[in-house]
Amino acid sequence: MVLKNMIMVLVLLLGINSAHAENINSARQVVDKFQTELIDVMKNGKQLGYAGRYEKLFNAVSNSHDLTKIIRIVVGKEWEKLSETQQQKLIDTFSKFSVSSYAHNFKDYDGETFVFDSEEETTRGGVVIHTHLNIPDEKAVKFDYMLKEIGNNWRIINIIANGVSDLALKRSEYTNILQREGFDALIAKINEKIDNYSKL
């Protein structure tokens, strides 16, 4: 009886471990898929043009990033001070800005490759996928993706490039502007950047 119980416990533990391993894999898969799509867009960047890159990357970013959570963290306590309409407007504008930033910065291909390095679990149940971008004739750039499980899906909530956290950087900027100049100024500044990205 004792032996039977021990076997059952072992089976359960194995089950938990394998389920956990699947989750870790799926977090990595989300990053892998996003990076593959990004490289693909870069390879066809010139033919696609800004509008084409934006269109292709909109789905890629939406399916891999939790943009709503990101912008909530970015504005911090200021979020509760916004009306529902303002919150929705901020989510929409920020989403456009995120995609347009990718579409502008990843516009052509010179042999770059993303390489997976390792993955680790955070204390709060998140996963960090460590990767780097190899650039011919240049020093590689480290990209660490922090993911959270939202429902049954893993979603990127932060990207740390060579030690610089995108979330922390935006958080300082956005809260500063919100407190100092207000919501409309923040939206105007983001829209101005989106507009510039589409023209450059």
């Binding site: 909530r72 963290i73 911090g76 306590k77 979020w79 509760e80 001070k81 930033s101 502008h104 910065n105 990843f106 516009k107 052509d108 010179d110 042999g111 770059e112 680790e120 955070t122 204390t123 709060r124 998140g126 960090v128 971008l133 650039i135 011919p136 004739d137 240049e138 020093k139 750039v141 480290k142 660490d144 922090m146 959270k148 909530i157 932060n158 740390i160 490039a161 060579n162 030690g163 610089v164 956290s165 979330l167 922390a168 950087l169 300082s172 900027e173 956005y174 809260t175 500063n176 502007i177 407190q179 100092r180 100049e181 923040l186 500044k189 983001i190 950047k193 510039n196 990205y197 450059l200």
Partner: protein, 305 residues
């Protein structure tokens, strides 16, 4: 090389950590207090504006002219030459940080590039797998436990922390190019500015508030270098999210009830408090740093004995 340079530079600046942040400082607007990190924000912002103008009207045109008249292979050679000289400084700081294996690699890099690489004009070491390491005296002080102190923007020199001042003096002293004539130093500055072009462009395109963007990316980048990229990978902002539901302490209605006189008076008091806090934070930081130097000096004395 030439084909990919501008695009690659743009992508590299995604790391936000580039030399560009060393060139600039920021734009105007009165400060929302950035607490202990940037107690002198109002002064720093003015200096950032000054540095931005200086860059736009002086450094950028000269740098652009240099890039226009100089062939790409010469620019690459100049970059490699100064980068190779920097290795002396890197090796010294490797040793001071007890990174002996890395110091051996960096010494190999210096020897190879200074000989086979034609006095450093060609980066042969990279081709044999010896990547450039980034070490300086500011990082050494961080390893020794000296706190970084407040963020400051210096005219011409750009962003720094208080700890970075002795760091910069030591690094300048340890770099051979500091002891040669003005033309070599001018070329060194031109080379630095020319290589920061991509980063400056990225900041200009991406930053909603270039001052804050520069400050945050500079501080994070320096912290990452000082900890060799091992810093707080797991910080995930959840605590902040939990605080989101906190109610406001002052409602808009209560704000409207205040008289103009009270508002302006409280504004003055607030500014005065901010200014006095700034000075006391800066003074405390200097005290802490002085204590750390004393500790380091005591440790060195013990080692001698």
């Amino acid at each position: 090389m030439k084909r990919s340079r501008s695009n690659v530079r743009t992508k590299q600046t995604l790391s936000y950590m580039l030399a560009g942040v060393l060139i600039l400082g920021s734009y105007s607007t009165s400060a929302v207090s950035s607490s202990k990190v940037d107690p002198c924000e109002h002064i720093n912002r003015k200096l950032f504006v000054f540095n931005t103008h200086l860059d736009n009207y002086v450094a950028a045109p000269i740098s652009n002219a240099y890039k226009w008249i100089t062939p790409q292979f010469v620019q690459t050679g100049v970059f490699n030459f100064y980068n190779n000289l920097k290795n002396i400084n890197v090796i010294v700081n490797d040793v001071l940080q007890a990174k002996l294996k890395q110091s051996a690699q960096d010494t190999g890099r210096l020897v190879i590039n200074s000989t086979l690489g034609l006095v450093g004009l060609v980066d042969v070491a990279r081709d044999v797998g010896l990547e450039q390491n980034d070490e300086d005296f500011d990082q050494t002080l961080a390893v020794w436990g000296v706190p970084k102190g407040p963020y400051i923007v210096l005219p011409v020199l750009g962003p720094l922390t208080v700890r970075g001042i002795p760091g910069a003096i030591f690094d300048t002293a340890a770099n051979p190019s500091s002891y040669v004539g003005a033309p070599v130093q001018l070329l060194s500055m031109l080379n630095t500015r020319a290589n920061a072009e991509g980063a400056l462009k990225f900041i200009d395109e991406a930053a909603l508030d270039p001052y804050v963007f520069t400050r945050e990316s500079f501080l994070q980048w320096r912290h990452s270098l000082a900890t060799d990229g091992q810093s707080q990978m797991t910080s995930d902002f959840d605590d902040e999210l939990l605080d989101d539901s906190e109610t406001l302490s002052i409602s808009p209605a209560s704000k409207n009830n205040r008289s103009d006189l009270t508002l302006s008076l409280s504004e003055y008091i607030k500014k005065f408090e901010q200014a006095s806090q700034s000075f006391s934070t800066t003074a405390n930081a200097f005290d802490q740093i002085a204590k750390s130097y004393e500790n380091v000096s005591e440790k060195l004395d013990k080692l001698k004995n």
